[in-house]
C-alpha cells in the first residue's frame, strides 16, 4: 500500500544518475521502485559474484566501503570460479536463480578456458540467460593526475551483449574446416539501438555513432547498420544526430581523435575491442565502470572486462572500476544518497592523488585505496 502511494508520488521522468565523477549519466529502463527484487525492512539483497583473478579483492573493497558507509545491502555471495576442468555449471545456475530473485547483481569476471574441452564462458551465459542485453561502458577521464594520452575523453559504449560473434555456435563439418556463426537479428538490434538512443536522450548527449563492417559483412552488419539508422530517424526531432563508422576506421579514430565520440552503439565483438581501446586511453581497465541492463535484471560489473590473474592475490588491483560500478548499482535501486557519498569520496581520493594503485602510477595497495575512500566518506 505504502509502495503504491510512493510510486504515485514519484515524478514520471525520474533522472537516475549512472555517472559518478562529474557526469550524471542516467541508465535507461532504470526504475528504482521495481529494480530491486528483494527488499525487506529497507535492506536490499543483492547477488554478489566476486569472480576470478582480482575479483575477490575488488569485491571485498566494495563490501568494506558499503559497510563503513552503512549502505543497507545484504550480499548473497557466490564464490564461483572458472578455473575448473569440469563443465558442470550448477553453481553458476544457482547464482543466476539468485539474480532472478534479487533482480540486481554485482559481479567480477570469471575465467573462461581457451581449449575446446573447457566450459563455455559463464560470464556470457549469465548475460544471455538473464537477457541483460545492453552493456554500458563509460569511457571518461577521471580527475586524477596520472598520465593519459588524451584528456577530456567522454563517451559511452553501448554494446549488444547477447548475440553477434559470441553466439558460441560453431561446428567442424569435416576435420580441419571450422565454421563459427555470427548471428544478427533485427529484434535484438532494434532494442539495443533504442537503448542507445534513449541513453543519448536521457543524458543530453548529441550523437550516436553506429559501428559496423557492413562493406564486407553486407548482410549481417548491413542489417545492424540499417536497423540502427531506422531507429535513429525517430530521434532526429529530439536533436540526436546519427552517424556511422566502419570499425577499423573507428579504432584508428579512437586513438587519434577520441573527442569526436559521444555515444557508440555496436555489436558484441566490436564493443569488446573498443572498450579496451577506450580504457587504455584514460588509464586502464581498473577505472572503468560498467553495467549490463535488461528488461528485468541488472548485472553490474567492471566495464573493461579482465580477470587480472597476473596480479591476483597481490593486493595491487585498482578497485575504482568496481566501486564505480557498485555506485551505479546503488543509483539503480534508488539508494542515490549513498551513491553520491561514495562517489564523492572516490573523487576526492583520486583528486588528492596521494593514494593510488600501481596501474595508475601509484605505489599503494587495494586496501590503502579502500581505506582512503572510507576516510573521505562524510
Amino acid at each position: 500500500m505504502q509502495r503504491h502511494a510512493a510510486r504515485l508520488a514519484q515524478p514520471l521522468q525520474s533522472y537516475r544518475s549512472f555517472g559518478t565523477v562529474g557526469t550524471k549519466t542516467s541508465l535507461v529502463q532504470s526504475d528504482p521502485l521495481t529494480a530491486s527484487g528483494t527488499v525487506y525492512g529497507g535492506i536490499h539483497t543483492v547477488t554478489l559474484i566476486p569472480g576470478d583473478g582480482v575479483g575477490l579483492e575488488m569485491a571485498t573493497s566494495v563490501k568494506t566501503i558499503f559497510r563503513a558507509a552503512g549502505v543497507p545491502i545484504e550480499w548473497e555471495q557466490f564464490d564461483l570460479t572458472g578455473y575448473t576442468d569440469s563443465k558442470d555449471d550448477t553453481l553458476v545456475r544457482q547464482a543466476m536463480d539468485s539474480i532472478r530473485k534479487n533482480k540486481v547483481a554485482l559481479k567480477g569476471l570469471l575465467y573462461t578456458p581457451t581449449n575446446r574441452l573447457g566450459h563455455v564462458s559463464w560470464n556470457g551465459m549469465v548475460r544471455k540467460e538473464l537477457d541483460v542485453y545492453a552493456s554500458t561502458t563509460l569511457i571518461q577521464n577521471l580527475p586524477g593526475s596520472w598520465p593519459v594520452r588524451h584528456k577530456n575523453v567522454n563517451f559511452a559504449i553501448i554494446r549488444e551483449n547477447t548475440e553477434g560473434e559470441y553466439s558460441g555456435k560453431e561446428h567442424e563439418p569435416v576435420p580441419g574446416i571450422v565454421e563459427s556463426l555470427k548471428v544478427s537479428t533485427h529484434a535484438k538490434t532494434e532494442r539495443i539501438a533504442k537503448y542507445a538512443f534513449d541513453f543519448a536522450l536521457k543524458n543530453k548527449r548529441n550523437k550516436v555513432t553506429i559501428i559496423h563492417k557492413a562493406n564486407i559483412m553486407k548482410l549481417g552488419d548491413g542489417l545492424f547498420l540499417r536497423t540502427c539508422r531506422e531507429v535513429g530517424k525517430r530521434y532526429e526531432s529530439f536533436g540526436i544526430k546519427t552517424e556511422d563508422m566502419i570499425v577499423d576506421n573507428a579504432s584508428m579514430q579512437l586513438v587519434s581523435k577520441p573527442h569526436q565520440f559521444d555515444v557508440i552503439v555496436c555489436g558484441n565483438l566490436y564493443g569488446n575491442i573498443l572498450s579496451n581501446v577506450g580504457a587504455a586511453l584514460v588509464g586502464g581497465p581498473g577505472i572503468i565502470p560498467g553495467a549490463n541492463i535488461g528488461r528485468d535484471f541488472a548485472v553490474f560489473e567492471p566495464g573493461c572486462r579482465h580477470v587480472g590473474k597476473d596480479i591476483m592475490g597481490t593486493n595491487m588491483a585498482n578497485p575504482t572500476g568496481m566501486i564505480l560500478s557498485s555506485v551505479h548499482l546503488l543509483r539503480h535501486i534508488g539508494l542515490s544518497d549513498h551513491a553520491d557519498r561514495i562517489s564523492k569520496a572516490v573523487t576526492k581520493v583520486i583528486k588528492k592523488g596521494n593514494v593510488l594503485t600501481p596501474d595508475v602510477g601509484g605505489t599503494n595497495t587495494t586496501t590503502d585505496f579502500t581505506l582512503a575512500v572510507i576516510g573521505e566518506l562524510d
Binding site: 575446446r116 594520452r149 580441419g176 556463426l181 548471428v183 544478427s184 584508428m252 586513438v255
Partner: protein, 362 residues
C-alpha cells in the same frame, strides 16, 4: 643536422621464392607491375617512379589497369593485369575504389582471391617528425588475408535473422603462421604472438591457435606467446613498446582492426606501408583511400606508397636501394620543410618528392 634514422622495415624475405622468379628485361632489370589506382593513385605512383629513377633502382615498370568487370557474376580483373602480375611476381598498387553496382565485391578482396594473397604484413613504426600521443611504436602484424570473418558467406535464415559465417581452415592457418614464424626469424624478432579469442570461439580461433602451436615446434629459436584480443587491444594502446620485439599473427577481422589501430598510433593510413604475400605473387600497397577530394591537385602524400615500395625492394633483395630510399623519405619528414597538408605542411606532392630526391643524393 640529420640524425641517422633506423630502417623502418627490415623485411628480409624468409620465403625468397618469388623474388628471383619473376620477369627481367634484357639488361637485367626487374619488371614490376604498377597498379596506379584511382583518385590520387596516379600522382603518388608517379612520385614513386621519379624517386626510383633518381636512385637508379634496376626496375622497369609495367603499368596496368585493374578496373574490374563481371564475368559470370564474379568480379574479375582484366586478363592483361592478371597475367602481368603472375609473370612479374611483384606488384605495387595505389588505392583502389570499389566499383558501386550490383554484384561487385571489394577490389581488395578480388585481388586477394585472384593471386591467393594469404598474408598481409602491416608494420607500424613511429615516424620521426610526425608526433602522435604514442612514442616509439614499432609493431609488426601479420593478418590472415583469405578467410575468417571475411569469407563472405552469409545468409538470411528467416526474415530478420542473419547468419554470417566465419570460416577457419587448417590450410590457411598453416600458411599464415608459417609465414609469421619465418618472418619473425628473418627480421630478428624472438617471439611470435598469436592473437585470438579462443575462450569464446573455441573451435575456430582454437584451431588457429593450435596450428600456431604446432608450427612453433619447428622454430625452436622463436617463442610463441598467446594473447587474448582484449588484452592486446588494451596493451598496445597503453604501452605499444611492449610489442616491439614480437610479430603478431591473427585471423582476418582482428588483423584488419588491429592493423588500422596500429596505423592510428603512428599517424594514420597516409604513413603506413602494407605488403600482401601470396604463393604466386606479392602485392605491396598503400592502404589509404583514393581521396577523391584532392585527386588531381598535386596535394597528396606519397609516403605510404613509398614505404610500401621500400618493403617491396627488400622483398626483392634490393636492400641497398631500400635503405637509401627509406632514409631519404624519413629524413624529408624529419626535416619538416616540405610536408604535405595531411602532415601539417603546405607543400605539394611534387615539392615533397623533389625534397626526397634531393635527400637521396645528400
Amino acid at each position: 643536422m640529420l640524425r641517422s634514422i633506423k630502417p623502418l622495415v627490415a623485411m628480409k624475405p624468409a620465403f625468397a621464392r618469388t623474388f628471383s622468379d619473376g620477369a627481367f628485361t634484357s639488361d637485367g632489370k626487374h619488371i614490376v607491375t604498377m597498379i596506379p589506382g584511382d583518385g590520387i593513385g596516379p600522382e603518388i605512383s608517379h612520385s614513386v617512379k621519379r624517386i626510383f629513377a633518381a636512385n637508379n633502382v634496376p626496375i622497369e615498370w609495367e603499368d596496368v589497369d585493374v578496373t574490374p568487370f563481371l564475368k559470370n557474376g564474379v568480379t574479375t580483373i582484366p586478363d592483361e593485369a592478371r597475367d602481368s602480375v603472375n609473370k612479374n611476381k611483384v606488384a605495387l598498387k595505389g588505392p583502389l575504389a570499389t566499383p558501386i553496382g550490383k554484384g561487385h565485391v571489394s577490389m581488395n578482396l578480388t585481388l586477394r582471391r585472384t593471386f591467393d594473397l594469404y598474408a598481409n604484413v602491416r608494420p607500424c613504426k613511429s615516424i620521426v617528425g610526425y608526433k602522435t600521443p604514442f612514442d616509439n611504436v614499432d609493431t609488426v602484424l601479420i593478418r590472415e588475408n583469405t578467410e575468417g570473418e571475411y569469407s563472405g558467406i552469409e545468409h538470411e535464415v528467416v526474415p530478420g535473422v542473419v547468419q554470417s559465417i566465419k570460416l577457419i581452415t587448417e590450410d590457411a592457418c598453416r600458411r599464415v603462421n608459417e609465414y609469421a614464424f619465418n618472418y619473425a626469424r628473418s627480421i630478428g624478432r624472438p617471439t611470435v604472438t598469436v592473437v585470438h579469442k579462443a575462450n569464446i570461439q573455441k573451435l575456430s580461433d582454437g584451431l588457429f591457435v593450435s596450428i600456431a602451436r604446432e608450427i612453433a615446434k619447428d622454430y625452436p629459436d622463436i617463442k610463441l606467446n598467446e594473447a587474448l584480443l582484449d588484452s592486446v587491444c588494451l596493451h598496445v594502446v597503453q604501452n605499444p613498446t611492449d610489442y616491439s620485439n614480437t610479430v603478431m599473427v591473427m585471423p582476418n577481422l582482428y588483423g584488419d582492426i588491429l592493423s588500422d589501430l596500429g596505423a592510428g598510433l603512428i599517424g594514420g593510413l597516409g604513413l603506413t606501408p602494407s605488403g600482401n604475400i601470396g604463393r604466386k605473387a606479392s602485392i605491396f600497397e598503400a592502404v589509404h583511400g583514393t581521396a577523391p577530394d584532392i585527386a588531381g591537385k598535386d596535394l597528396s602524400n606519397p609516403t605510404a606508397l613509398l614505404l610500401s615500395s621500400v618493403m617491396m625492394l627488400r622483398h626483392m633483395k634490393l636492400d641497398q636501394h631500400a635503405t637509401e630510399i627509406e632514409t631519404a623519405v624519413l629524413n624529408t619528414i624529419a626535416q619538416g620543410e616540405a610536408l604535405t597538408g595531411d602532415l601539417g605542411g603546405k607543400s605539394t606532392n611534387t615539392q615533397f618528392t623533389d625534397a626526397v630526391i634531393k635527400n637521396l643524393s645528400a
